[in-house]
Amino acid sequence: MQTVIEGLAYVLGDNIDTDQIIPAEHLVYSLTDPEEKKNYGRYALSGVPAANAGLPEGGKPFVDEGQCASNYKIIIGGKNFGCGSSREHAPACLEIAGIQAVVAESYARIFYRNSVDGGFFTPLESQTLLTDEIKTGDSVKLDIERSLLTNLSTNKSYPLNPLGDVLEIIQAGNIFEYARKNGLIPQSG
């Protein structure tokens, strides 16, 4: 598990649901075929209405037209991030687009669980609302061991909630590796 992540932030508001993260019409692509699954990167966050895409100004696409990867590495979200459907395509598409961490004020349960069990990226919780403190395009640094997010553009730091119960699964990589480590399933698959 990577403990320090540095990159550009992409800022979103409250209640970013899974249909905004990956609209249902795109849930048809293979998640195993390496070429076909790039489509998930292409359409990641394509359901966010333009006004809310990349706050505070909006109008900033997460992935540029024709591309499959994003220039942003860390998403800053508000409350109830990932609400809605159980589609694992939602955390998967963010990872495929190049996201390494999401920092939100709170998460919907299934999205959070899918992010952890599937080992897509680390979902972290902020202690305060960061969407007013960080702008889309700011350079940020995430120190997971110290539970700290720093906005390198302003030099201000923000404490995050420790990972708690799910830390062991995140450290193992995903639920399968965690289960193997703990003797719940056989070592070789």
């Binding site: 649901d17 249909d19 609209p23 249902a24 019409e25 609400c83 809605g84 459907s85 669980r113 995903n174």
Partner: protein, 433 residues
Amino acid sequence: MGMTLTEKILSAHSGGKAVKPGDNLWVDVDVLMTHDVCGPGTIGIFKKQFGENAKVWDKEKLVIIPDHFIFTEDKHANRNIDILRAFAKEQDLPYYYDVGTENYKGVCHLALAQEGHNRPGEILFGTDSHTCTSGAFGMFSTGIGNTDAAFILGTGKLWVKVPETMRFEFNGTFPPHIMAKDVILQVIGDIGCDGATYRAMEWAGDAIMQLSMEERMTLCNMAIEAGGKNAVIQADETTERYVKERTDKPFTIYESDPDAKYRLKKIYNADEMEPVLAKPHSPDNRATVSECKGEKLDRAYVGSCTGGKITDFIAAAKILKGKKVEIDTFIVPATREVEQDLSRERIDGETLMDIFINAGAQIGEPSCAACLGGPKDTFGRTSDHQRVISTTNRNFPGRMGSKTSEVYLASPYTAAASAVTGCITDPRDFLYN
């Protein structure tokens, strides 16, 4: 200390010791359900983790119900059905409800109930957030992703954190113009669309226990719209009758202890309920129907796991009988059984199907259809700025297809009354005049 219904089911499936909220348990799974959107991904992970020739843990406990993208020309969507079909053959699965055959059912959450896969006291996981619907049968049921589903396919187990329970008690009797959809939209409006995050929503009270199984399913279906992990209603004679008509498998009825601990108890007077709706763009954006009266609409939609059951169509037909719709109106039965019932159920001698056709509504094939937008050729999908009144369960931006469409969630009574006038209309204007 006593346990809630949810805690008792989780305890019984993890070795029988008492459990409390916050405990992490490995539970034994009774049923795993998947469909065409998440099944192929689940199968891919299962094979990667357990081997190309791995067998599922128990083929009697796996139910595959294709329902999302069925009546479409989309090549990738059709390829995904082929993957399910091949897997069902390879694993010799008894419960695969194949597209294009007499065995095709339609929307998974209602098909689970109609085919006898919902049984009190059991644990059911599904790769769909509305799997919480099955809690109407006094069981623990919740939505999971592909990875967790693949883990179950290989092991028959999954880790669960025991949720705190919130209890919603409705005493008295609901007025005849109130449907379960009004009740759940009222509650989501009260607690917010993250008000039950990580928690169980337990429904109780005389008014709840008077509801049919279909209405109970509507109530439990939308627990996820409040962030809930699961919803649950104590099984009673109504539940037993429904279940025994559909399966011979034994089941266990659990009930909450009188001294069980709740995170919160909210008590409502059922007699005082008003018809409500959720305005765009969130299921907790509640208003009374009378507050929105007269707002212009472009289309009406009656369908989905939460709003496409025969109870929902009987309600819509009561209002549409002998009338013409003013706006495009889409009728989508959730399953083949509901579709057949449209031609069996009658109001004053006229079948529901005839009532809808004579009113000028369009009837679609049983599937999830436009509830979640779907491929471009999906029946009823929004394509522009349309303003829709719908009996479905979600109205976040773009949910029904177009990012610029606006969706109002409402009961079948309210949707049908609004279809007749072309603007938001209180169903009492039709039901009592």
